[in-house]
């Protein structure tokens, strides 16, 4: 299935699947545009294209332009109202076959992790899952002695954790195009939006004829949640099993409020039924990168650390001085959280009040 160098040369530009749900652009789409812009700078064609798929979604193109899209390809069809694998895979793979991008980025969401593999198999290329680092470089990284001229340049190097975050691998897709990756939400940085920016909008409809692969949606049930997404929080106060009880999360909520942040938690807390899954940080939860992460009563299992180690400042409070969380904390305090946290809340309130005065 390898392509010839002539075939590969036809593929140009960086494309982003601009996920939308209920006609609202998902944050991951803006994150991918930020990364795509950076990658495009290192490539021959500097162009970033967003692929917007849905029903009555054309009006979303402007916001994609503000976050860095030079072009927006809109596939608009009533069949695309809600996400379903087949019509969406048909839409995205038709765009790829028509426009031939060299890179396609898809969010590693519950949608993208279904769409990505289906599309990559349909257009017959490789796909690297759940990437946390993307850059442009050489493959192999170091030329094979005597075969220096065989080293390929301008390749997408895709880095991802595996084995529960214990190992990390960098993967290339040298002989096929496009080079496809799904990217973990919360990892890439969106750009500061450029107000009033406009993109060239291209409407494209490959035709949608329902067949047996079109599943029927019998019912859509949305989870009710008035809690802000922890991935958007600048400050997180995160609790683990050491907090002791669901009631005792109150002291964390008070601290979060004093700091102007939110509460998140570890998997142990979700497994115990104390907090819902959308508050969970870690390998099987969410990846967060707040300015401040206060880990309270969290031992710091490798899977948890994988989801928060990118925080700018990490403070850990734990009574076990050997807790692995201290290996990643900038400031570790060994002590009793029940005594420290309420006092910390008071002091922070006082310090903030003093600054305002």
């Amino acid at each position: 299935m390898k392509m010839t160098p002539e075939q590969i040369a036809q593929y140009k530009g960086v494309f982003v699947f601009a996920q939308q749900v209920d006609n609202k652009v998902s944050t991951i789409a803006y994150e991918l545009l930020g990364k795509a812009k950076e990658l495009a700078e290192s490539l021959e064609t500097k162009e970033v294209t967003a692929v917007l798929i849905g029903s009555d979604v054309k009006s979303l193109a402007d916001s994609l332009a503000e976050y860095g899209a030079d072009k927006v390809i809109v596939v608009d069809d009533p069949e695309l109202k809600e996400y379903r694998t087949e019509p969406y895979a048909h839409a995205l793979s038709s765009v790829i076959n028509e426009f031939k991008p060299e890179i396609v980025l898809v969010g590693a969401t519950a949608i993208g992790r279904d769409l990505g593999p289906t599309v990559s198999a349909r257009v017959e290329t490789g796909l690297t899952a759940d990437c946390t680092v993307l850059n442009i470089g050489d493959f192999p990284l170091v030329p094979v002695p005597g075969k220096e001229d065989e080293q390929l340049h301008g390749q997408l190097l895709m880095t991802r954790p595996a084995f529960g975050g214990n190992t990390i691998a960098t993967i290339a897709c040298p002989d096929n195009r496009p080079q496809m990756a799904t990217v973990r939400p919360g990892v890439m940085q969106k750009i500061t939006p450029v107000k009033g920016a406009k993109a060239e909008v291209i409407e494209f409809n490959p035709g949608f004829t329902p067949n047996d692969r079109y599943v029927t949606i019998k019912e859509v049930v949305k989870a009710v949640s008035d809690v802000k997404d922890i991935m958007d929080a600048k400050i997180l106060v995160s609790g683990g099993r050491g907090v002791g009880s669901p009631e005792n999360f109150k002291i964390l909520e008070d601290l979060a409020e004093a700091l102007g942040g939110q509460v998140s938690c570890s998997r142990a807390v979700v497994d115990a039924g104390w907090k819902p899954k959308d508050m969970q940080v870690g390998q099987t939860g969410k990846t967060v990168r707040p300015n401040l992460y206060v880990a309270v009563g969290i031992s710091g299992a490798i899977q948890h650390v994988a989801g928060m180690e990118e925080a700018d400042v990490i403070v850990a409070i734990n009574k076990d001085e050997d807790a692995p969380i201290f290996d990643v904390a900038d400031y570790g305090v060994v002590g009793d959280l029940n005594k420290i946290v309420p006092k910390l809340t008071e002091e922070i309130k006082a310090a903030k009040a003093a600054k305002l005065a």
Binding site: A110, I111, R113, A121, F163, N166, Y214, E309
Partner: protein
């Protein structure tokens, strides 16, 4: 009704990960288990057997040692086991793995194919949807519930902030979440029978309509440029204050220093 469940033998990452001196994973030193999502998929299939008398076949690809998980599945109640093993299939990425499994499935009869959503070693969630693509089947990923209604299957499909109740014609492929159910234990009689049961073993020659260029390491479009232990951020300061007041003063001082408050 015929159900094929695709299962994978994986190292148990829960028990800690062991490395060789060169930094590669020491699979031999780690316990091998049936991948949890796959086990939930198997349980779902066995419930269809209990309810509708479905015939359940388990299929795996791997080294000959992978027959262990097939026997475990049969001890739980699966009727047949098929192992795909061949040196030329080694080093496969998700594309080459899915073309291999699709090649085996073309020799089999099925109304439903169930795979786990993802395996705990690679965590890619790619092989299930890719098998469906190679076979031209509808796919429903992230299944939380599976029900049969005549020649249709009804599946509760999980998304980040919602779920959809989906209906698909069979045959179709479903990827199962470990939350789907609590897998049953092997029975003593099942273990006895499974030890004696015959496992069908297929090699490269038994795969139908698959090009050599799509198999094994050579047929894998993704190539590993580098693999290493994760380099972690070093530890910062750790203090053991005499009193809560001292602890609080320390934290507030640092947050102030960093301009967070």
């Amino acid at each position: 009704m015929k159900v094929v469940v695709c299962i994978k033998q994986v190292p148990d990452t829960k028990g800690g990960v062991k490395f060789n001196p060169d930094g590669t994973l020491d699979r031999g030193a780690m316990l091998a288990i049936m991948n949890p999502d796959d086990k939930a998929g198997l349980e779902a299939a066995l419930r269809l057997k209990d309810q509708y008398g479905a015939e359940v076949t388990v299929l795996t690809m791997g080294l000959p040692k992978a027959t262990d998980v097939l026997r475990e599945a049969m001890a739980m109640g699966a009727d047949k086991g098929v192992l795909i093993t061949d040196r030329v299939l080694g080093g496969a990425d998700t594309w080459a793995t899915s073309t291999t499994i699709a090649g085996a499935l073309r020799n089999m009869e099925y109304d439903l194919i169930i795979t786990g959503r993802q395996a705990i070693d690679g965590d890619t969630a790619q092989v299930g949807p890719q098998i469906a693509e190679h076979l031209g089947l509808p796919v429903i990923s992230y299944a939380q519930e599976i029900k049969i209604d005549g020649d249709k299957v009804i599946v509760k499909r999980q998304y980040d902030d919602r779920y959809h109740m989906l209906e698909s014609k069979m045959p179709c492929l479903i990827t199962a979440l470990s939350e789907l159910n609590e897998p049953r234990y092997m029975t003593p009689g099942g273990i006895f029978d499974a030890c004696a049961a015959e496992i069908t073993t297929w090699g490269r020659a038994d795969l139908k309509d698959v090009d050599d260029g799509n198999l094994g390491l050579n047929g894998s479009p993704t190539k590993i440029a580098k693999a290493s232990d994760k380099v972690r951020k070093g530890a910062g300061e750790k203090v053991t204050p005499e009193s809560p007041e001292e602890a609080v003063a320390y934290i507030v001082g640092k947050l102030d220093e960093k301009h967070i408050i």
